[in-house]
């Protein structure tokens, strides 16, 4: 088998787009030290290109962040957090992809609040399968953890007993159901 053929098998040939209904992009952050707070983004698009030069890209609209309190929603869009007016999107672009069976690893550039940093995302790959309408789908479940302060998201508030209300480490999670473009 040639090198080109091996590479081609890494990700099945084609362009695979996230199904917005059945995909999730979310985050999890320690809150008040003892609990995990989760939120998600409702407006995003992920694209996985297979073949000889596999690439995974994603764009997330910051203003689509979903939390259960309108005051928190408003605060998250301010310069204290994402500064959605100046930096309306989060961006992800892989620089290399490795897949071994159902194990998927990608090095990427992640842009948050206008700051671009390298990250490594890890997770699982599944499929492709044939959906009820004759289309092809595959699944990616990915996770990475970033230090939000490295992206200029530094807001916090001290707790009476020491420590801070919001951890610097934030887990980013993507559960993607990707549909092959015809």
């Amino acid at each position: 088998m040639s090198v080109a053929e091996q590479t081609a098998q890494l990700i099945p040939v084609g362009t695979w787009k996230s199904d917005p209904v059945h995909s999730t992009v979310a985050f999890a952050v320690k809150h008040q030290i003892v609990a995990t707070f989760r939120g998600k983004f409702s407006d995003f698009e992920a694209t996985l290109v297979g073949g000889e030069e596999p690439k995974l890209t994603g764009v997330v609209k910051v203003a689509s962040i979903v939390v259960e309190d309108e005051n928190l929603y408003g605060h998250l869009l301010t310069p204290d957090f994402f500064d959605a007016e100046r930096f309306p999107e989060l961006r992800f672009e892989s620089t290399s992809i490795d897949r071994d069976g159902d194990t998927f690893v990608a090095d990427a550039e992640l842009t948050v609040k206008g700051v671009t940093k390298p990250v490594t995302v890890k997770g699982t790959f599944a499929g492709p399968i044939t959906d009820p309408w004759g289309g092809e789908r595959l699944g990616l479940s990915l996770e990475t953890t970033i230090d939000r302060t490295a992206y200029g998201i530094e807001w916090n508030t001290p707790l009476p007993g020491g420590g801070f209300a919001v951890s610097n480490d934030v887990a980013l999670l993507a559960e993607l159901e990707l549909v092959k473009e015809q």
Binding site: E70, N71, G74, H75, L77, T78, P79, D80, E85, R86
Partner: protein, 185 residues
């Protein structure tokens, strides 16, 4: 470029108000600093009256903030924090939330006190409060301690360092306001 200057003090001979008048005189070409003088007429924040139409003084505050490209606030420090009437103004201006007149508005802070500290705690608290409203607080705190020694007998700000810092604040506000205008254009 229009900068609305808010003094947190109601006192007629307030040093914070004088500092803002000095900023107005020092403003580089192209920057106009207008002093807000309605602080005393704002009613205490009351959610029962936080409806449309808003009380006249509140409407005026919101309209003047909305019309300004940026804000310069100079605050005294009462019991280690922001004077109540200034916090009250911020609370009125922050409504309705989140789409309020302060949102994304560049704001720079200063504080004048006759003590040796220059109102650092008040400025720190004000920065936190403004951050929650959605304002874009820029630059460092500008503590003007022992402010009574910084003016001459004619009421002119004579301290060269404070004069330079005020000009830096105005230039920083102008630069931020231009960025904001470019993003929202």
């Amino acid at each position: 470029m229009r900068i609305l200057a808010l003094s947190g003090s109601l006192r007629g001979e307030s040093y914070n108000t004088r500092l803002l008048r000095a900023a107005s005189e020092l403003a580089p070409p192209g920057i106009e600093v207008e002093l807000y003088d309605g602080l005393a007429s704002l009613p205490p924040y009351d959610a029962d009256f936080d409806v449309e139409p808003a009380p006249a003084a509140v409407r005026d505050l919101r309209e003047r903030i909305a019309a300004a490209d940026a804000l310069l606030i100079s605050t005294p420090e009462y019991n280690g924090s922001i004077p109540g009437q200034l916090k009250n103004a911020v609370d009125w201006a922050s409504r309705p939330f989140p789409a309020n007149s302060l949102r994304n508005k560049p704001v720079a802070l200063a504080g004048a006190t006759q003590s040796a500290y220059g109102g650092m705690w008040a400025q720190t608290d004000l920065r936190r409060v403004l951050g929650i409203t959605g304002a874009r607080v820029v630059g460092e705190e500008l503590p003007v301690a022992q402010v009574q020694t910084r003016f001459d007998d004619e009421g002119r700000l004579i301290d060269p360092e404070v004069r330079a810092h005020l000009i830096e604040h105005l230039e920083l506000l102008a630069a931020e306001a231009q960025l904001t205008a470019a993003v929202t254009a």
